[in-house]
């Protein structure tokens, strides 16, 4: 009886030791892969699909290590989990995945500030499950104010400065808001409607700036407000 107990114990300990050793080796390998940046996931392109299409994220994932990443998944999480699957990612393999965010979720992300999480998860060598989730990557999509060009007309002691800018709406939503333009003592507030997946040219006023101020540099600021909240902002320093 006693010998049976000892045998069970020894067998268990030996197997446990084996598993600990395997896990330790896998952990070393995993950390080394992380250190060499062998896993990469980047947003290659964001496509705005008009109508009820939503937003399409084209994500490029690659692995340059020596192991196998089993059950590799790239996921976007908004309220409910949306997943895009890919089975295994082998050595030196690059795969492009497309994940679509439906229109109904985009409204919540934009107006209610719901967080959007992008991540990937896999079983390292089929043994250690690892998940990396990125949040706050709103700079990659949404609404951006882009300056186009600045034109000057010189007079005796001042310049007439006209700035051209556009608002890029990369969301398939029609957005109504207000544009606030501030430069020196100029303040202009105007209503704007941004069409889905479109670029809107802004009509900004010409500003008369004293020569000495322009030599020091003058800040031109454009803010886009939707429902009282600043959704995009851009400040450009203009100098001659």
């Amino acid at each position: 009886m006693k010998e049976t107990g000892t045998l069970i114990k020894l067998l268990g300990y030996a197997l446990a030791l084996l598993i600990f050793l395997v896990l330790l080796i896998e952990m070393f390998s995993l950390v080394s892969d992380l250190g060499r940046e062998n896993f990469k996931a980047k947003i290659a392109n964001i496509e705005c699909v008009r109508g009820n299409g939503g937003l399409e994220f084209n994500i490029e994932v690659s692995y340059n290590g020596q192991r196998v990443l089993k059950n590799f998944k790239v996921f976007l999480k908004i309220e409910n989990i949306l997943k895009s699957y890919f089975t295994n990612l082998e050595h030196n393999e690059t795969v492009s995945l497309t994940i679509k965010v439906p229109l109904e979720y985009l409204g919540n992300i934009f107006y209610e500030n719901t967080s959007l999480i992008l991540g990937f998860e896999f079983d390292y060598d089929g043994i250690i499950p690892l998940k990396i989730a990125f949040s706050d990557f709103k700079n990659a999509y949404g609404i951006k104010i882009e300056p186009l060009k600045v034109s000057y007309t010189a007079y005796d002691s001042e310049y007439s400065v006209t700035m051209n800018a556009t608002i890029v709406n990369s969301l398939p939503l029609e957005i109504c808001g207000e544009v606030i333009f501030i430069a020196l003592n100029y303040f202009k507030k105007s209503n704007i409607t941004l069409m889905p997946c479109s670029i809107t040219v802004l009509n900004l006023p010409t500003v008369n700036v004293p020569k000495k101020d322009l030599e020091r540099g003058v800040e031109f600021s454009i803010n886009l407000l939707v429902e009282g909240k600043v959704v995009s902002s851009r400040t450009i320093l203009i100098k001659v």
């Binding site: 009886m1 950390v31 250690i128 998940k131 989730a133």
Partner: protein, 144 residues
Amino acid sequence: MKGLGTSIVTIIIPLWLISSIGGYFEKSLYEVFKTEYVFTVEYNVETYFAIIIFLSIIIGVLEESNVWKVLGKSLRLALLIISFLLIYTLLGGGIFSRTVIVSNVTAEVTIDLRLILYAYSFLIVLPTVIATLIEIFSLSSLEK
């Protein structure tokens, strides 16, 4: 001495190994992502080691006595089960999740090390419990 040895093999070494793997993972994340986030190791295993060694010595003394042998073995069994539950709680069920900041983007890295806890429970705790129960039953039948 035999009781102390069993406690070292079944509780202290696995706890040290598991906490070392967890600590190694945290340290590696800090180095790999070069984040300024400071990781705090929440478990102070040395205190538990000291308590377990102290209790194991007392239980070991009881096991040496012919009168208190069965009680000593039962207490060792209880210590093993309590230690397992303690390890399980300390390691948050075997899932390590830490937040890092990479290029101003917040990322949450989660590693699932439940396999270690399964290995510990099924290959160390369970066989030890079975072996100790066999010893207790054989001792009880000898006394009768």
